[in-house]
């Protein structure tokens, strides 16, 4: 039985652990501390936690100001509000001057299933990816989540982290290394390479198991840093297979699929993208309903693999 764990919990607790060692860390939230799990930091370090009210634009620019006096601000709200509402503040006030602001988009993708399209971020990778200087990280599980928090504290510059709301399977080990800008091979194979991110890495591993029974060998790569993309390794893992699949809980326009297609645009390789097909989300009574409806399933990956091999 695969072990499940929650990324938001891991994030909130690791932030507290790091806050004990690193006094420059300050945390801002827009009235969602109980969802983003910045509440742990607020409780432990009330003087370094700033409730900014339901005012995301001011929150981002305030974080810019805090970074200008040497703080390491972590800005928290839902992914859709963290990137869409203050887009201009991120572009002009954080990314252009390369300020050390960490933007944490919680409840990303369709993971806030009940709240519907307004609260589901299907295009946040695409918008953040288009901004120069921005680093984008999409952790695969709670174990990697903790390493991501540590790495972004060390890294000097703007970072966007997208965090799934729901419990996800643990797929990585404590002792595996995480480096910003490096992709990790989760399982090897020789016919197809699947570049997946976030929750879709698990879907790719399930697809891999089924395809293995059909005699098809699949390599699964966890792309947790979407920008800067690991150009050399993407090319290397695409070179020796018959086709490439990308898999993300995000629109197929401009996200991981877009990034991989850009890298491989001058290579002779067939690419298929699995993701949300240029549509908004909607409400559902559980996460799985949406995953099935939008085709973010192992079956979708299997179909693409078979198309590539035929």
């Amino acid at each position: 039985m695969i072990k499940m764990s929650n990324l938001r919990e891991a994030y909130g607790k690791e932030l507290v652990a790091l806050g004990r060692k690193e006094e420059r860390i300050v945390v801002l939230d827009a009235d969602l501390r109980g969802s983003t799990m910045s509440c742990y930091f607020a409780k432990e370090f009330p003087e370094r936690f700033f409730e900014m009210g339901i005012a995301e634009q001011n929150m981002i620019s305030t974080a810019a100001g805090l970074s200008l006096v040497g703080k390491i601000p972590f800005v928290n709200t839902f992914a859709v509000f963290a990137t869409g509402r203050p887009y201009d503040q991120i572009r002009q006030g954080v990314a252009l001057p390369k300020l050390n602001v960490k933007i944490v988009g919680s409840s990303c993708g369709l993971s806030d299933y009940g709240d519907g399209a307004t609260h589901q971020s299907v295009e946040d990778i695409a918008t953040m990816r288009s901004i120069p200087n921005m680093v984008i990280i999409s952790p695969v599980d709670a174990v990697e989540m903790k390493k991501v928090v540590r790495a972004v504290v060390e890294y000097q510059g703007p970072v966007y982290i997208r965090i799934n709301r729901n419990d996800l399977p643990i797929l990585t080990d404590e002792d595996e290394s995480f480096k910003i800008g490096k992709i990790n091979k989760i399982a090897d194979g020789k016919d197809i390479t699947v570049f997946a991110t976030g929750f879709m890495v698990y879907q790719a591993l399930q697809a891999r198991a089924i395809l293995q029974d059909k005699g098809i060998s699949v390599r699964v790569i966890n792309v947790s840093t979407i920008k800067p993309i690991d150009v050399d390794k993407v090319k290397e893992y695409a070179k020796d297979v018959k086709g490439v699949i990308t898999a993300e809980e995000h629109t197929i326009i401009g996200g991981l699929g877009g990034a991989i297609c850009e890298v491989l645009s001058d290579e002779l390789v067939k690419i298929k993208r699995v993701g949300i097909d240029d549509k908004f989300g909607q409400s559902a009574s559980n996460y799985e309903e949406l995953i099935n409806y939008y085709g973010l399933t192992p079956q979708a990956i299997i179909e693409k693999a078979e198309e590539l091999l035929n």
């Binding site: 620019s61 805090l66 200008l68 201009d88």
Partner: protein, 240 residues
């Protein structure tokens, strides 16, 4: 030009700062949230020794550190501004940092009156009030013109003072071209504790240049050689 006297009073009278030590963590900060007025700030910064006066001529040209709108890569510039309203929020962040680090610097933010149209301004005004930022001073360059024309005709927000009063700021009103009034108000602001302060400075766009005063077209305009000659004459003949 409408903010030139305010900028002058801040850099040459009020603020604790030095062009020789632009990174001093205890320095007072000036953020020009109405970034299109940056020329006034560049002139003052050069005079204070942040960079050589000779490079002022390169402003807005390719490769210059003096960009069309303020960027922190320019020595003495404290925040990237230009997209309006962000400067006050950045000021809130720097002021919060000052409280946290127990440093007693002040953060001055010059805002345009047209800029007050932006919703983010009112988010920042609220935050400054919630966090009792008495180390934050907003200065409104009330020149009564916005990019498309007179505020009265374009987008009249009415009485600015009463709005700040309602958000629990300490409000001051002055003539933004009367140096005595400017200096006095900047000193009185120091005595305010527990709330942020705003100085509403009544100003004239293009002040001191006969053909530019109160002319909307000089919102962010370059002078021709002939206009420059005339402007210099006008300024030389100003009664101080």
């Amino acid at each position: 030009m409408s903010s030139a006297d305010l900028v002058t009073a801040l850099y040459f009278y009020k603020m604790n700062h030095s062009g020789d030590n632009p990174e001093n963590p205890d320095r007072d900060r000036l953020i020009l949230s109405k970034g299109h007025s940056v020329l006034a700030q560049y002139a003052a910064l050069a005079e204070c020794g942040y960079f050589p006066k000779s490079i002022l001529k390169t402003t807005k040209t390719f490769g210059s550190i003096l960009q069309g709108h303020p960027e922190i890569r320019t020595p003495g510039i404290e925040a990237n501004t230009g997209s309006l309203a962000q400067g006050l929020s950045v000021g809130v962040g720097i002021a919060l940092g000052g409280k946290l680090d127990k440093r007693d610097y002040k953060v001055y933010v010059i805002l345009g009156d047209g800029e007050l149209n932006e919703g983010q301004i009112w988010e920042a005004i609220t935050a400054a009030s919630v966090y009792k930022l008495d180390n934050l001073v907003a200065i409104i360059d009330r020149n009564k013109l916005q990019a498309s024309g007179p505020i009265k005709e374009i987008y009249d927000m009415g009485d600015i003072k009463s709005k700040f009063d309602a958000f629990c700021w300490k409000t001051f009103e002055i003539n933004g071209h009367n140096m005595k009034e400017i200096i006095e108000v900047l000193d009185s602001v120091d005595k305010i504790k527990g709330v942020p302060s705003v100085i509403i400075a009544q100003t004239i766009k293009g002040k001191g240049i006969s053909f530019a005063e109160n002319v909307t077209g000089f919102h962010n305009a370059a002078l021709t050689a002939e206009q420059f000659r005339k402007a210099n004459l006008d300024i030389d003949n100003l009664e101080l």
